[in-house]
Symmetry: C2
Subunit: 347 residues, 2 copies
Amino acid sequence: MSYTVKTIEWRGDEVVMIDQRVLPLLEEYIHHATWQEVGDSIRKMVIRGAPAIGVATAMGIALAAMQSSATSYEELKKDLEAASKGLFATRPTAYNLGWALQQQQEIWGQPGDPDDIRAALKKRSQEILEEDIAMCMAMGEHAAPLFPPGARILTHCNAGALATAGYGTALGVIRSVFQRDPTIHVFADETRPFLQGARLTAWELQKEGIPCSIITDNMSGYFFKKGEIDAVVVGSDRIAANGDVANKIGTYTVSVLAREHGVPFYVAAPTSTVDLSLADGSRIPIEEREICEVTHIGDHQVAPDGIAVRNPAFDVTPHQNVTAIITEAGVHREPYIESLAGIKKGK
Amino acid sequence: MSYTVKTIEWRGDEVVMIDQRVLPLLEEYIHHATWQEVGDSIRKMVIRGAPAIGVATAMGIALAAMQSSATSYEELKKDLEAASKGLFATRPTAYNLGWALQQQQEIWGQPGDPDDIRAALKKRSQEILEEDIAMCMAMGEHAAPLFPPGARILTHCNAGALATAGYGTALGVIRSVFQRDPTIHVFADETRPFLQGARLTAWELQKEGIPCSIITDNMSGYFFKKGEIDAVVVGSDRIAANGDVANKIGTYTVSVLAREHGVPFYVAAPTSTVDLSLADGSRIPIEEREICEVTHIGDHQVAPDGIAVRNPAFDVTPHQNVTAIITEAGVHREPYIESLAGIKKGK
């Protein structure tokens, strides 16, 4: 159950994140002393992945409390309301962001001594980090028996240690499968435009010695058709009550290909990703990001000046295409409207 | 029926090609005085696209004849056999390459005066270029009525003027549709790893003022699902007798998405792309190219050192996913085994 990547952590009263924009060529760490800096890093994707964004958000609120010169509860509350609003606006799709704000609000929403609240917010953010790792490991345990011996597993984007507090959701599952069966092989979609697969998933798997081949996003159909993919596992940014799954752009296409070829399609995500307030995926907000992510790769321009671009960052996979959803509570199957509702009730 | 791009042409006794590796940022032309230089440019994808490769090959054989110091027919034949073998080995999937070699062999296969053969080979290569443009324009005329008013058309890779002697196959169709209906909109898949869509298709469409948005290859599923794509048109590198279509990697995935969403999927290619010697697509050779195309974008490294990569350059779309194949002879539909056989017979 080992993993070697530190995505985000407290060092003293600073929040330190590995800069996911410059991996795998550079391993640089950014220090954050304010919630505004954390918000900036979420927006610019220094840190990304719904569970990791949740941890960063909780830590951001703790920083906001430390920044605040408030001596009364009312003053502190005002500052934390502003910080919550600012952090909420950074990325619209990740449900864990709002979930983490709510976790912290349960603390600062109750009147109390400002210094006690400051300490409690920091402590809770560290708990969220540790709970996240524990949930990822539990997902791995639940999911590992689903994979056949020597499985060739496709994953899309990075749902790894880097997308979480550590270990990973989809890559956590792959880590757990690999511990039982070192003969597996992973296909990592490169995942344009941000290249989370080529840059982050490949880097994580290489560090752990898990056999892996990078492919471009348009190649998986070729390997599905040749019978070279036995299973798919991806993470999620938000799951609706009926099991519709928002995840990185391109996930929907992979799900269509998987169903076309009779290959199981698994989603691994903590229950904090499940948004029971949404009946289905049609109302999950989908972020459109800047066009330069598509027209440029690093500093390298790949498209003509002035060309139009569309850049939706996520898509929604309908529950009919999802073989099972794996959370820390277990393996959930259709009808998700029941199996997911049950899990949240139990919490 | 205008187009402004010169892909390949004779200038005196040199073959001049626009360098498709550095577009759209640079517009550079490479001069070729030998068949070996032409072979090198085909292999390195200075020129690409099956019909353009066909023209380049025919011109390469003409250059080989000019290079040869042969004074007898037998000597010349020996030199041209060597050049044919060398050119044939450059790219395995494009059927037009072998077709162009055969066209030229019909000339040099007959004993004759070496200088007469030299002149005839050059003349034939120019004819192939002109015929190719005429065929593209005929395809456009046949196909244009298939598209609804204001059609939003997805294309993959570049099957444009740059992939042919001029005008284009799939982009020729789009040019012809646009002349009738300036309200159309094109989605251009960026087409990793070589980025033919972002670099070449976007550049061609922008030059002609045809409205176009670039998307990454994993985004089309999102737009299909939202009902924002009305038709697909792509080119082809080789078509089997049953209508199975080899084309740029990722085409198969687009065809699966099109069928899933009830969107017509058209293939535009000259009859010289149809290989009646292959009963179906399973025996079309698929080139795997160098891994650096995936690990790097331009000089920019995007993947960790030493990572494994798969890089198939083409895939095969089964005829069941193809709504119609458009050649210079007309619009062909199932059963392709009959409709395609008829066309070749008529030539």
